[in-house]
Subunit: 202 residues, 2 copies
Protein backbone atom coordinates (compact mmCIF):
# COMPACT_ATOMS: atom_id res chain seq x y z
CA UNK A 1 0.00 0.00 0.00
CA UNK A 2 1.20 3.50 -0.79
CA UNK A 3 0.94 6.10 1.93
CA UNK A 4 0.40 9.79 1.20
CA UNK A 5 3.15 10.76 3.64
CA UNK A 6 6.45 9.35 4.89
CA UNK A 7 5.41 10.33 8.42
CA UNK A 8 2.36 8.10 8.17
CA UNK A 9 4.37 5.25 6.69
CA UNK A 10 6.88 5.40 9.52
CA UNK A 11 4.21 5.55 12.21
CA UNK A 12 2.34 2.63 10.63
CA UNK A 13 5.54 0.58 10.48
CA UNK A 14 6.29 1.21 14.14
CA UNK A 15 2.76 0.46 15.34
CA UNK A 16 2.51 -2.68 13.18
CA UNK A 17 5.56 -4.06 15.01
CA UNK A 18 3.37 -4.54 18.09
CA UNK A 19 1.96 -8.07 18.56
CA UNK A 20 -1.48 -8.65 17.05
CA UNK A 21 -1.58 -5.38 15.12
CA UNK A 22 -1.37 -5.48 11.33
CA UNK A 23 -0.72 -2.69 8.85
CA UNK A 24 -4.42 -2.03 8.28
CA UNK A 25 -5.17 -1.63 12.00
CA UNK A 26 -2.03 0.48 12.40
CA UNK A 27 -3.20 2.81 9.64
CA UNK A 28 -6.60 3.18 11.29
CA UNK A 29 -4.93 4.11 14.58
CA UNK A 30 -2.62 6.59 12.86
CA UNK A 31 -5.48 8.32 11.03
CA UNK A 32 -7.43 8.39 14.28
CA UNK A 33 -4.53 10.14 16.03
CA UNK A 34 -4.29 12.70 13.22
CA UNK A 35 -7.99 13.50 13.48
CA UNK A 36 -7.80 13.90 17.26
CA UNK A 37 -6.27 16.77 19.20
CA UNK A 38 -2.48 16.90 19.20
CA UNK A 39 -2.28 16.69 22.98
CA UNK A 40 -3.92 13.25 22.99
CA UNK A 41 -1.04 11.84 20.96
CA UNK A 42 1.50 13.57 23.20
CA UNK A 43 -0.21 12.21 26.31
CA UNK A 44 0.03 8.71 24.83
CA UNK A 45 3.68 8.96 23.83
CA UNK A 46 4.62 10.57 27.14
CA UNK A 47 2.95 7.75 29.08
CA UNK A 48 4.85 5.19 27.01
CA UNK A 49 8.18 6.98 27.40
CA UNK A 50 7.70 7.35 31.15
CA UNK A 51 6.68 3.69 31.35
CA UNK A 52 9.71 2.44 29.49
CA UNK A 53 12.31 4.57 31.22
CA UNK A 54 10.78 4.61 34.71
CA UNK A 55 9.76 1.00 35.18
CA UNK A 56 11.26 -0.68 38.27
CA UNK A 57 11.20 -4.17 39.71
CA UNK A 58 10.56 -5.34 43.26
CA UNK A 59 13.87 -6.21 44.95
CA UNK A 60 12.32 -9.32 46.51
CA UNK A 61 9.90 -10.88 43.99
CA UNK A 62 11.11 -9.11 40.80
CA UNK A 63 7.59 -8.17 39.83
CA UNK A 64 7.02 -4.74 38.28
CA UNK A 65 6.71 -2.22 41.10
CA UNK A 66 6.67 1.51 41.76
CA UNK A 67 8.60 1.18 45.03
CA UNK A 68 11.72 -0.79 45.85
CA UNK A 69 9.56 -3.48 47.43
CA UNK A 70 6.17 -4.12 45.78
CA UNK A 71 2.80 -3.82 47.51
CA UNK A 72 2.35 -7.59 47.74
CA UNK A 73 5.79 -8.25 49.29
CA UNK A 74 5.40 -5.39 51.76
CA UNK A 75 1.82 -6.23 52.72
CA UNK A 76 1.24 -7.49 56.28
CA UNK A 77 -1.79 -9.50 55.20
CA UNK A 78 -0.07 -11.96 52.86
CA UNK A 79 0.91 -15.49 53.88
CA UNK A 80 4.72 -15.35 53.88
CA UNK A 81 5.10 -19.14 54.08
CA UNK A 82 4.12 -19.72 50.45
CA UNK A 83 5.85 -18.42 47.33
CA UNK A 84 4.21 -18.80 43.95
CA UNK A 85 6.75 -18.93 41.10
CA UNK A 86 5.48 -17.43 37.83
CA UNK A 87 6.86 -16.42 34.47
CA UNK A 88 5.62 -12.87 34.10
CA UNK A 89 3.73 -9.96 35.59
CA UNK A 90 0.69 -11.04 33.54
CA UNK A 91 0.60 -14.27 35.54
CA UNK A 92 0.74 -12.44 38.88
CA UNK A 93 -2.20 -10.28 37.79
CA UNK A 94 -4.15 -13.31 36.54
CA UNK A 95 -3.65 -15.19 39.84
CA UNK A 96 -4.45 -12.10 41.91
CA UNK A 97 -7.72 -11.81 39.98
CA UNK A 98 -8.81 -15.29 41.12
CA UNK A 99 -8.69 -14.09 44.77
CA UNK A 100 -7.71 -17.68 45.69
CA UNK A 101 -4.13 -17.02 46.68
CA UNK A 102 -2.81 -15.02 49.61
CA UNK A 103 0.91 -15.90 49.54
CA UNK A 104 3.86 -14.17 47.93
CA UNK A 105 5.21 -14.38 44.38
CA UNK A 106 8.47 -14.79 42.57
CA UNK A 107 8.61 -13.60 38.97
CA UNK A 108 11.21 -15.45 36.89
CA UNK A 109 10.98 -13.17 33.87
CA UNK A 110 10.57 -16.10 31.48
CA UNK A 111 11.19 -19.84 31.25
CA UNK A 112 14.19 -21.91 30.28
CA UNK A 113 14.15 -22.16 26.50
CA UNK A 114 17.31 -23.40 24.77
CA UNK A 115 15.62 -22.77 21.39
CA UNK A 116 15.51 -19.05 22.17
CA UNK A 117 18.87 -19.06 23.94
CA UNK A 118 17.35 -18.55 27.40
CA UNK A 119 19.18 -20.49 30.10
CA UNK A 120 18.71 -20.58 33.91
CA UNK A 121 21.12 -17.67 34.38
CA UNK A 122 18.93 -15.40 32.23
CA UNK A 123 16.08 -15.81 34.71
CA UNK A 124 15.63 -14.92 38.39
CA UNK A 125 16.21 -18.55 39.46
CA UNK A 126 19.42 -17.88 41.43
CA UNK A 127 17.58 -15.06 43.20
CA UNK A 128 14.78 -17.49 44.05
CA UNK A 129 17.22 -20.05 45.50
CA UNK A 130 18.91 -17.49 47.73
CA UNK A 131 15.57 -15.99 48.72
CA UNK A 132 14.33 -19.41 49.84
CA UNK A 133 17.67 -20.17 51.52
CA UNK A 134 17.64 -16.92 53.48
CA UNK A 135 14.06 -17.33 54.66
CA UNK A 136 14.21 -21.06 55.19
CA UNK A 137 12.42 -21.02 58.52
CA UNK A 138 9.67 -18.85 57.09
CA UNK A 139 9.01 -20.44 53.68
CA UNK A 140 7.11 -23.72 53.88
CA UNK A 141 6.00 -24.20 50.30
CA UNK A 142 6.86 -23.22 46.78
CA UNK A 143 4.10 -23.36 44.15
CA UNK A 144 5.37 -23.68 40.60
CA UNK A 145 2.77 -21.94 38.45
CA UNK A 146 4.49 -22.01 35.07
CA UNK A 147 2.72 -22.57 31.76
CA UNK A 148 2.26 -26.32 31.05
CA UNK A 149 4.51 -26.27 28.01
CA UNK A 150 7.78 -28.06 27.33
CA UNK A 151 9.73 -24.98 28.46
CA UNK A 152 7.58 -24.47 31.56
CA UNK A 153 7.93 -28.12 32.57
CA UNK A 154 11.69 -27.97 32.04
CA UNK A 155 11.92 -24.90 34.25
CA UNK A 156 9.73 -26.48 36.96
CA UNK A 157 11.91 -29.58 36.90
CA UNK A 158 15.11 -27.51 37.09
CA UNK A 159 13.88 -25.50 40.09
CA UNK A 160 12.63 -28.63 41.85
CA UNK A 161 16.03 -30.29 41.43
CA UNK A 162 17.87 -27.24 42.74
CA UNK A 163 15.68 -27.14 45.88
CA UNK A 164 15.62 -30.90 46.59
CA UNK A 165 17.82 -30.69 49.68
CA UNK A 166 15.84 -27.97 51.36
CA UNK A 167 13.03 -28.98 53.76
CA UNK A 168 10.25 -27.21 51.84
CA UNK A 169 7.32 -28.56 49.89
CA UNK A 170 7.44 -27.94 46.16
CA UNK A 171 4.08 -28.18 44.39
CA UNK A 172 2.81 -27.51 40.88
CA UNK A 173 -0.59 -26.04 40.03
CA UNK A 174 -3.20 -28.59 38.90
CA UNK A 175 -3.30 -29.26 35.20
CA UNK A 176 -6.75 -27.83 34.78
CA UNK A 177 -5.24 -25.55 32.21
CA UNK A 178 -5.17 -27.01 28.68
CA UNK A 179 -1.70 -28.28 27.87
CA UNK A 180 0.07 -26.00 25.40
CA UNK A 181 -2.06 -23.04 26.45
CA UNK A 182 -0.88 -19.77 27.86
CA UNK A 183 -1.46 -19.00 31.55
CA UNK A 184 -2.64 -15.50 30.92
CA UNK A 185 -5.61 -16.65 28.78
CA UNK A 186 -7.04 -19.12 31.29
CA UNK A 187 -10.40 -18.14 32.81
CA UNK A 188 -10.47 -17.21 36.48
CA UNK A 189 -12.33 -20.32 37.69
CA UNK A 190 -9.98 -22.76 35.97
CA UNK A 191 -6.97 -20.82 37.15
CA UNK A 192 -8.33 -20.52 40.70
CA UNK A 193 -9.04 -24.27 40.88
CA UNK A 194 -5.61 -25.08 39.58
CA UNK A 195 -4.17 -23.17 42.53
CA UNK A 196 -6.38 -24.95 45.08
CA UNK A 197 -5.90 -28.38 43.50
CA UNK A 198 -2.12 -28.21 43.26
CA UNK A 199 -0.24 -31.51 43.68
CA UNK A 200 3.19 -32.32 45.13
CA UNK A 201 6.03 -32.25 42.62
CA UNK A 202 6.59 -36.03 42.40
CA UNK B 1 -8.10 -4.96 37.41
CA UNK B 2 -5.28 -3.85 39.69
CA UNK B 3 -1.98 -2.98 38.09
CA UNK B 4 1.34 -3.49 39.85
CA UNK B 5 2.52 -0.01 38.84
CA UNK B 6 1.00 3.41 38.25
CA UNK B 7 3.17 3.71 35.12
CA UNK B 8 1.52 0.62 33.66
CA UNK B 9 -1.94 1.83 34.62
CA UNK B 10 -1.37 5.16 32.90
CA UNK B 11 0.04 3.58 29.75
CA UNK B 12 -2.86 1.11 29.60
CA UNK B 13 -5.38 3.94 30.01
CA UNK B 14 -3.80 5.93 27.19
CA UNK B 15 -3.55 2.98 24.79
CA UNK B 16 -7.11 1.81 25.57
CA UNK B 17 -8.38 5.21 24.39
CA UNK B 18 -7.52 4.17 20.82
CA UNK B 19 -10.44 2.79 18.78
CA UNK B 20 -10.85 -0.99 18.85
CA UNK B 21 -8.34 -1.53 21.67
CA UNK B 22 -9.61 -2.65 25.07
CA UNK B 23 -7.86 -2.70 28.44
CA UNK B 24 -6.77 -6.32 28.05
CA UNK B 25 -5.14 -5.74 24.66
CA UNK B 26 -3.60 -2.51 25.96
CA UNK B 27 -2.03 -4.41 28.86
CA UNK B 28 -0.59 -7.01 26.50
CA UNK B 29 0.97 -4.27 24.40
CA UNK B 30 2.37 -2.52 27.48
CA UNK B 31 3.94 -5.70 28.83
CA UNK B 32 5.32 -6.43 25.38
CA UNK B 33 6.99 -2.99 25.30
CA UNK B 34 8.50 -3.57 28.75
CA UNK B 35 9.98 -6.91 27.68
CA UNK B 36 11.45 -5.43 24.51
CA UNK B 37 14.48 -3.15 24.21
CA UNK B 38 13.94 0.43 25.40
CA UNK B 39 14.86 1.87 22.01
CA UNK B 40 11.91 0.12 20.34
CA UNK B 41 9.49 2.06 22.53
CA UNK B 42 11.34 5.30 21.90
CA UNK B 43 11.30 4.67 18.14
CA UNK B 44 7.54 4.18 18.33
CA UNK B 45 6.84 7.28 20.41
CA UNK B 46 9.18 9.39 18.29
CA UNK B 47 7.41 8.31 15.10
CA UNK B 48 4.05 9.23 16.65
CA UNK B 49 5.28 12.60 17.92
CA UNK B 50 6.84 13.43 14.56
CA UNK B 51 3.64 12.33 12.83
CA UNK B 52 1.40 14.46 14.98
CA UNK B 53 3.47 17.62 14.94
CA UNK B 54 4.81 17.38 11.39
CA UNK B 55 1.72 16.38 9.44
CA UNK B 56 0.83 18.74 6.56
CA UNK B 57 -1.98 18.96 4.06
CA UNK B 58 -1.90 19.52 0.30
CA UNK B 59 -2.76 23.15 -0.50
CA UNK B 60 -4.93 22.05 -3.42
CA UNK B 61 -6.74 18.82 -2.45
CA UNK B 62 -6.27 18.95 1.36
CA UNK B 63 -5.07 15.36 1.48
CA UNK B 64 -2.22 14.53 3.86
CA UNK B 65 1.05 15.34 2.15
CA UNK B 66 4.76 15.77 2.82
CA UNK B 67 5.10 18.68 0.39
CA UNK B 68 2.97 21.79 -0.08
CA UNK B 69 1.29 20.13 -3.07
CA UNK B 70 0.78 16.35 -2.84
CA UNK B 71 2.18 13.80 -5.29
CA UNK B 72 -1.20 13.23 -6.94
CA UNK B 73 -1.94 16.94 -7.50
CA UNK B 74 1.58 17.60 -8.83
CA UNK B 75 1.71 14.51 -11.05
CA UNK B 76 1.74 15.11 -14.82
CA UNK B 77 0.03 11.77 -15.48
CA UNK B 78 -3.29 12.44 -13.76
CA UNK B 79 -6.44 13.49 -15.59
CA UNK B 80 -6.97 17.07 -14.39
CA UNK B 81 -10.52 17.28 -15.76
CA UNK B 82 -12.02 15.07 -13.02
CA UNK B 83 -12.04 15.71 -9.28
CA UNK B 84 -13.18 12.97 -6.90
CA UNK B 85 -14.60 14.36 -3.64
CA UNK B 86 -13.98 12.13 -0.61
CA UNK B 87 -14.30 12.32 3.14
CA UNK B 88 -10.86 11.25 4.33
CA UNK B 89 -7.35 10.19 3.45
CA UNK B 90 -8.47 6.56 3.97
CA UNK B 91 -10.85 6.96 1.04
CA UNK B 92 -8.15 8.36 -1.24
CA UNK B 93 -5.94 5.38 -0.40
CA UNK B 94 -8.81 2.93 -0.96
CA UNK B 95 -9.66 4.42 -4.38
CA UNK B 96 -5.98 4.57 -5.38
CA UNK B 97 -5.74 0.86 -4.55
CA UNK B 98 -8.45 0.02 -7.11
CA UNK B 99 -6.22 1.46 -9.91
CA UNK B 100 -9.47 2.45 -11.67
CA UNK B 101 -9.18 6.20 -11.22
CA UNK B 102 -6.65 8.56 -12.75
CA UNK B 103 -8.15 11.96 -11.86
CA UNK B 104 -7.55 14.28 -8.93
CA UNK B 105 -9.08 14.33 -5.45
CA UNK B 106 -10.59 16.74 -2.99
CA UNK B 107 -10.60 15.70 0.67
CA UNK B 108 -13.42 17.30 2.67
CA UNK B 109 -12.17 16.17 6.08
CA UNK B 110 -15.58 14.77 7.04
CA UNK B 111 -19.25 15.05 6.12
CA UNK B 112 -22.02 17.41 7.19
CA UNK B 113 -23.41 16.03 10.44
CA UNK B 114 -25.67 18.31 12.51
CA UNK B 115 -25.80 15.59 15.20
CA UNK B 116 -22.06 15.99 15.78
CA UNK B 117 -22.12 19.73 15.22
CA UNK B 118 -20.31 19.55 11.88
CA UNK B 119 -21.60 22.08 9.35
CA UNK B 120 -20.45 22.97 5.81
CA UNK B 121 -18.00 25.58 7.13
CA UNK B 122 -16.15 22.92 9.16
CA UNK B 123 -15.28 21.10 5.94
CA UNK B 124 -13.24 21.99 2.85
CA UNK B 125 -16.40 22.68 0.82
CA UNK B 126 -15.73 26.41 0.27
CA UNK B 127 -12.23 25.48 -0.88
CA UNK B 128 -13.76 22.98 -3.33
CA UNK B 129 -16.14 25.62 -4.75
CA UNK B 130 -13.35 28.14 -5.33
CA UNK B 131 -11.07 25.44 -6.71
CA UNK B 132 -13.72 24.46 -9.27
CA UNK B 133 -14.48 28.13 -10.02
CA UNK B 134 -10.83 28.95 -10.63
CA UNK B 135 -10.23 25.98 -12.90
CA UNK B 136 -13.60 26.08 -14.64
CA UNK B 137 -12.21 25.57 -18.12
CA UNK B 138 -10.15 22.61 -16.93
CA UNK B 139 -12.56 20.72 -14.65
CA UNK B 140 -15.24 18.80 -16.56
CA UNK B 141 -16.59 16.49 -13.87
CA UNK B 142 -16.90 16.15 -10.14
CA UNK B 143 -17.35 12.64 -8.70
CA UNK B 144 -18.96 12.60 -5.27
CA UNK B 145 -17.53 9.52 -3.53
CA UNK B 146 -18.94 9.96 -0.05
CA UNK B 147 -20.17 7.12 2.18
CA UNK B 148 -23.80 6.20 1.34
CA UNK B 149 -25.12 7.26 4.74
CA UNK B 150 -27.54 9.98 5.70
CA UNK B 151 -24.66 12.40 6.36
CA UNK B 152 -22.85 11.49 3.15
CA UNK B 153 -26.02 11.96 1.08
CA UNK B 154 -26.70 15.31 2.75
CA UNK B 155 -23.19 16.46 1.93
CA UNK B 156 -23.46 15.28 -1.69
CA UNK B 157 -26.76 17.11 -2.05
CA UNK B 158 -25.33 20.29 -0.53
CA UNK B 159 -22.31 20.29 -2.86
CA UNK B 160 -24.48 19.55 -5.89
CA UNK B 161 -26.76 22.48 -5.07
CA UNK B 162 -23.83 24.82 -4.61
CA UNK B 163 -22.39 23.87 -8.03
CA UNK B 164 -25.68 23.80 -9.98
CA UNK B 165 -24.94 26.97 -11.96
CA UNK B 166 -21.52 25.85 -13.13
CA UNK B 167 -21.25 23.98 -16.45
CA UNK B 168 -19.68 20.83 -15.00
CA UNK B 169 -21.04 17.31 -14.62
CA UNK B 170 -21.61 16.17 -11.03
CA UNK B 171 -21.78 12.40 -10.58
CA UNK B 172 -22.00 10.04 -7.62
CA UNK B 173 -20.30 6.65 -7.40
CA UNK B 174 -22.56 3.65 -8.06
CA UNK B 175 -24.32 2.23 -5.05
CA UNK B 176 -22.49 -1.05 -5.25
CA UNK B 177 -21.47 -0.38 -1.68
CA UNK B 178 -23.95 -1.60 0.95
CA UNK B 179 -25.98 1.33 2.28
CA UNK B 180 -24.90 2.27 5.78
CA UNK B 181 -21.44 0.77 5.25
CA UNK B 182 -18.15 2.57 5.50
CA UNK B 183 -16.18 3.35 2.35
CA UNK B 184 -12.87 2.27 3.78
CA UNK B 185 -14.06 -1.32 4.37
CA UNK B 186 -15.33 -1.99 0.83
CA UNK B 187 -13.35 -4.54 -1.19
CA UNK B 188 -11.33 -3.29 -4.14
CA UNK B 189 -13.54 -4.82 -6.86
CA UNK B 190 -16.76 -3.35 -5.49
CA UNK B 191 -15.13 0.00 -4.96
CA UNK B 192 -13.51 -0.04 -8.41
CA UNK B 193 -16.85 -0.89 -10.10
CA UNK B 194 -18.60 1.83 -8.19
CA UNK B 195 -16.16 4.32 -9.72
CA UNK B 196 -16.67 2.98 -13.27
CA UNK B 197 -20.46 2.70 -12.92
CA UNK B 198 -21.05 6.16 -11.50
CA UNK B 199 -24.35 7.84 -12.45
CA UNK B 200 -25.29 11.47 -13.02
CA UNK B 201 -26.48 13.32 -9.92
CA UNK B 202 -30.13 13.68 -10.95
Amino acid sequence: MEYPSKLIEEAVTQIARLPGIGKKTALRLVLHLIREKEENTFRLTEALNRLRSGIRYCRQCHNISDAEVCTICSSGRRDRSIICVVENTNDVMAIENTAQYTGLYHVLGGVISPMNGIGPTDLKIEALISRVNEAQSEVKELILALSPTMEGDTTSFYIHRRLKELPIKVSVIARGIPVGGDLEYADEITLGRSILGRTLFN
